[in-house]
Amino acid sequence: MYNKKVMDHFQNPRNAGEMLKPSGVGEVGNMKCGDIMKIFIKVEDGRIEDINFLTFGCGAAIASSSMLTELVKGKTLEEALKITNTDVAENLGGLPDAKLHCSNLAADALHKAIEDYQSNNPSA
């Protein structure tokens, strides 16, 4: 069902966990389809210095959360905003069709986290 890379991120998720004092938090998903993702970011000098995720969801949801955090870490906010769910899926070497639209939402959560940060820091 899932390729090796997806399984690796599922088994050894990068940056899983809660962040204590995040600069921004974003959450997406709903209970009906069964995936809820929360992304925490720490922003310093316009850069995402640290990122964490908490995900309730299927293998694809966990792996894409993990992959997103790898892609984003160290990027500027501008660069990070350009990352799409499709980028995440591609970097994972692809996801099953059925998962592409329901469980591949990590970039959306990231964008919400960045919005959250920006609304908390209107000057930034």
Partner: protein
């Protein structure tokens, strides 16, 4: 590592004896049972004997057994066949909310085509209430279809009562017994069932073969048209090796059901007890007593079912889930929802179905493994963190209160 198979509800490994019984029909006795010559007659003999064995195992007569390509076809043949055979009688049908899709979707299709349909609710344990059935039967009711035992939560329906109500009211009664045959005793001489579906691969037989019992004298239309096989009800060259396999499997499965079920039920109860003891925030789904001997269905809160399956699989344990992610659809199990479960809990459901090959050691390993998996996944789950925080808060409030009252 030896893998542990705990998905006997999905399919079972064919018994070695079943495969051995089938092989000659792939090799020497390959004839078409409809042929007049000796190759055909050998095949015909095996077909007749298999029908006799299958009938015997069910308490039926050989001419009441029609072989089909599986449980799905048997269900479709019964339901579509009843509608097809009606000319001017009414056409109200009744089923339950927890049926397999092969019944539910067929019923829905018939209702799209003009039949009316009542879907009976179930209680929290997944049980149909016979009184509800009695109330639902109308003058124009023609068929009631309620499964013998549920494939997800293992709940065993009061089929004896349900069938008797239908017989009394003159309504045909079909039961999907795909999960029941071989697991619980059922004698068609004693229960007034008109149609019964079964599938070999759920009882240690081959895939792609099943049967429909049709009580003598019951009229039925058909799904497919063509040759005169299976009393003209099911055309197509008979799948003889599989039919021989089905007969052998059902013969074995129905021998000493009480003895075998007791052994499996003991493993089931051991597993349920340990799971409830070792893992917090889980619940048992289905009926606590009226349940299939091999069925364990739990909801692990704050964890999504598919990820739990994957994690277990990586550790060598094969299970299944009512999670939307494993169903191919985007909805959580209709069975769990019909039992009144909320979405989140349904998504975290896990089905572990035990079979004859499983051992107590496997059960213990599975519980320990499951505990690890749950902990790992809950560690990543925001829902679990929120829950723990609430629990802590409550405890703190509780402690305060205790203190308060102590004053």
């Amino acid at each position: 590592m030896e893998r542990i198979y705990l998905d006997h509800g999905a399919t079972t490994p064919p018994h070695a004896e079943v495969v051995e019984a089938m092989l000659p029909y792939y090799r020497q006795y390959f004839g078409n049972p409809s042929s007049v010559h000796s190759f055909g007659r050998e095949a015909r003999r095996a077909l007749d004997e298999s029908r006799e064995k299958t009938a015997l195992a069910l308490g039926a007569a050989p001419e009441e057994i029609i072989f089909t390509s599986g449980g799905t076809e048997a269900n479709n043949l019964a339901i579509q066949g009843v509608i097809e055979s009606l000319s001017h009688k009414g056409s109200h049908m009744i089923t339950s909310a927890v049926e397999h899709h092969a019944v539910l979707d067929t019923m829905n299709k018939m209702s799209q085509k003009g039949c009316s349909l009542t879907v009976l609710p179930v209680d929290r344990c997944g049980m149909v209430d016979p009184h509800e059935l009695k109330k639902a039967i109308r003058d124009d009711s023609v068929l009631v279809s309620i499964m013998t035992a549920n494939n997800e939560i293992g709940t065993i329906q009061p089929v004896m009562e349900l069938a008797a109500i239908c017989r009394e009211k003159g309504v045909l009664f079909h039961t999907d017994a795909v999960q029941a045959i071989g697991n619980i005793p059922l004698n068609l001489k004693e229960v007034p069932i008109d149609f019964l579906s079964l599938s070999a691969h759920k009882l240690y037989g081959p895939k792609g073969i099943g049967a429909l019992f049709i009580r003598k004298g019951t009229k039925l239309g058909k799904l497919m048209f063509g040759g005169g096989q299976e009393r003209k009800l099911r055309p197509g060259t008979e799948n003889l090796p599989a039919i021989v396999g089905l007969a052998k499997a059902i013969e074995m499965a129905t021998a000493d059901i009480p003895g075998k079920s007791k052994a499996v039920a003991a493993l089931r109860d051991r597993m349920i007890e340990k799971l409830l003891e070792k893992i917090d925030a889980i619940q048992l789904n289905g009926h606590p007593e009226h349940r299939l001997p091999g069925n364990v269905n739990i909801s692990v809160k704050f964890v999504e079912g598919e990820s739990l399956l994957l994690d277990l699989d990586l550790k060598g344990v094969a299970a299944s889930s009512g999670s939307a992610c494993t169903s191919g659809s985007l909805e959580a199990s209709h069975v769990l929802m019909a039992c009144g479960m909320d979405q989140q809990t349904a998504h975290g459901s896990l089905r572990l179905t035990l079979g004859h090959g499983n051992t107590a050691e496997e059960v213990d390993y599975t519980v320990a493994t499951l505990k690890d998996s749950v902990e790992r996944l809950r560690g990543m789950s925001s829902l679990y963190r929120d829950y723990r925080r609430q629990v802590e808060k409550k405890r703190n409030i509780g402690e305060e209160k205790t203190c308060t009252t102590k004053k």
